[in-house]
Symmetry: D3
Subunit: 163 residues, 6 copies
């Protein structure tokens, strides 16, 4: 038995979404969920089949991102995990569509930060993805000036309205 933290690869300007699903139909359903969310989204999907040939199953509309998703899936190698890399879109554009895919169980992270997958391996070499180290350890607490900056930032980029 071992527990390890495996760095995943995220190309510049991309976000990664990691989750757990059920059944190889996942890759086509995630494809449709993503392509239908944002007109110009580019993405790659990789899913670790967990029985039979146990292959990484993959779809997408961008060869580089399919390759990166595959590389991450092979590193984690845990049954029924999936790895999505997106460009030209943000997680908030696609997360609710992914959650609604009928095979999807849960999403473990959605981020552009450096991440490590925390993987448990049993004595037979089979693996579970337990969680994700997403970015960096918390350093402190925001004060009133950070609150104002944070709220103003969200309004400047248009995500929220100001009175």
């Amino acid at each position: 038995m071992k527990l390890e933290a495996i760095p995943l690869r995220i190309p510049e300007g991309c976000n990664i979404i990691v989750g757990i699903s059920h059944f190889i139909k996942t890759v086509e359903d995630l494809y449709e969920a993503l392509v239908g969310s944002v007109p110009n989204i580019k993405f790659g999907i990789a899913f670790c089949e967990a029985s039979g040939p146990c292959l990484v199953r993959r779809e997408g509309n961008d060869d580089e991102l399919i390759e990166v998703a595959t590389e991450n899936a092979l590193k984690v190698a845990a049954g029924h995990t999936f790895f999505i890399l997106i460009r030209n879109a943000y997680p908030i554009n696609v997360l609710n569509a992914i959650k609604a895919v009928p095979e999807v169980c849960t999403i473990l992270c959605a981020t552009a930060n450096p991440v490590k997958a925390v993987v448990f391996e049993d004595e037979d070499g089979n693996r579970a993805l337990l969680g994700i180290i997403d970015g960096f350890r918390t350093k402190g607490v925001e004060g009133p000036e950070h609150v104002r900056e944070r709220r103003e930032f969200l309004r400047k980029i248009g995500y929220k309205l100001a009175p």
Copy 2:
């Protein structure tokens, strides 16, 4: 403190769904979600109450599956986890209904593969379910012929349409 991998039991022809929820009302709400999803579904539900008597709470419409769900719950023994065994239905028929149950927090797996629950135990013997080893370690990457077979399979069984 210890970390262990506990095999769960899945009868032939069944799928297991494991998740985390809140409150004993979970078992009745999961019962209604499942019975309303597929006309002839057979299922058993077990939920680990996490306060007071700390009993496995259970519902279902199939005695064998209720027993198997209970057995799995007792093995894991982690507060607020639930275990569902289904027959005559597939996870894709029921997962979105389960996700929408107002007590459900998350789903950790949905599978017919052999599974082990990864459980953390503290010095008082209280436990957390951290993840699931679902089936077998990834062995490789699909090539073009596997992609074609995968897509054709989904179309042959009618889940997707072909031009």
Copy 3:
């Protein structure tokens, strides 16, 4: 590398909800989801920013609960985790609204029980929240009399109807 179980604080009469999300917009969107769920809800939200200044970002409508959420976030210190404390409302009143927030990935627990967060730390001090010990270890299985009491209790408090 270390794995530890960190007790979180829950004031009397409150529930805690712990999850994983994406992006500092989370705190405003969770604020709106909560304030729009129950007319008199009181709550505090804290979210661990995972890049740049890595501050605990916080919102709410109750200073004490914001402080408690912040305290819990600082203890866990894992990027993109969030901590919500609620009063005058129950998790079943708010969980589906939280799941639907476009930044939210998953919810790890919703409970009024004593909880410990199971945290993995890598050699750089960065952290992942792997799961939650929610309440106490399972002690047994309900018998027919417990089933009757359970169902009657849910009907007495009006959550379900009796014939």
Copy 4:
């Protein structure tokens, strides 16, 4: 054939929600959706059964509101329509839970304004609910000062945050 506009009754301090559903199980499922949404909600539900005895089916936790819902249902008398009156809660607290009820087809209005139901009746006396006159005819367009007041109002009552 006739087309008529039938005033519905809404007691002071209440909101009405009118929709279309399927099957008598609707009243129990709406009951559970409402009672689980807001701790102190008071409500009445009436649903027009559309086959067999064609009775108004009703549930709720407030006798007066059940009576008002029934009165509105009898006035409209259109198969599979439902009428909900709520107190101590607002439509935004309950609408998403109602939309997620598995029998619910659609919601035609949610309002505290005076309303009239627009009903079509065929030559056999059977009826369809086509829409709702909700409050009063539009009088003009908001100018910059109205925008500021509107946004400030939502922030004063705490539904939105200000920088």
Copy 5:
């Protein structure tokens, strides 16, 4: 301009679901939503394309039900309406999956009762579906004995649990 009530056809043992959607992709997405909901469901879908050739677009896994859906679509002939006939499944098994299809706007009815579509036609012959007469005019109000029978019926068929 005219307003008419057009009877739709529902074969014995089937339910009809009528709604409004957007874009010809609707028929494939409804196909996938239905086939993924219930293992042995049989169904036919027809959708009124509203531009270009303005054809009834159709999918399904049962020729008779595709024909009946088409016949109903041609009678209504209103742009962007859809008509689904299902067998071996009930509306409660499929309505939430249909509501979640990304092209679907709303559902106007789900029923096994005789129905008439209320259609408005403008001077150019273009049409809007305004509502559905679903079954029969309401005849009265349930009394205590009907309430008991109703609740007992739902428990006898297993949709709800009794204490």
Copy 6:
């Protein structure tokens, strides 16, 4: 009492979405739902306030589209109706986010076709929006060659995958 069909305006390259909602908070919540759906979306929203000053309330990030939405709202002038014009995005990118807005009751159409709103007016001049004539009357039924073209078109533009 009168029933009329009012043409709405849709600028070239845009889609219109028409629905029914509750409360002036709708315009800010729709704003956030739309801006969070697609990175470069341009849109205008108008909502018919139904009490007090009964003004058209409006938000958006494109002045022309806000004007067009307002013009359509004034023509319909029915309480609690809303009108959204979008550019650089398609209805499938935004409809599920709109359906999930807690004030939204229903969506009556989503289309780029010419549309007319079917409006009922009572003797006091108050109005209900009953439905939408979306595009043109159905002209026929697709044959096998149309099916093949339709499916191939969806695969050519990448919305679906081919074996």
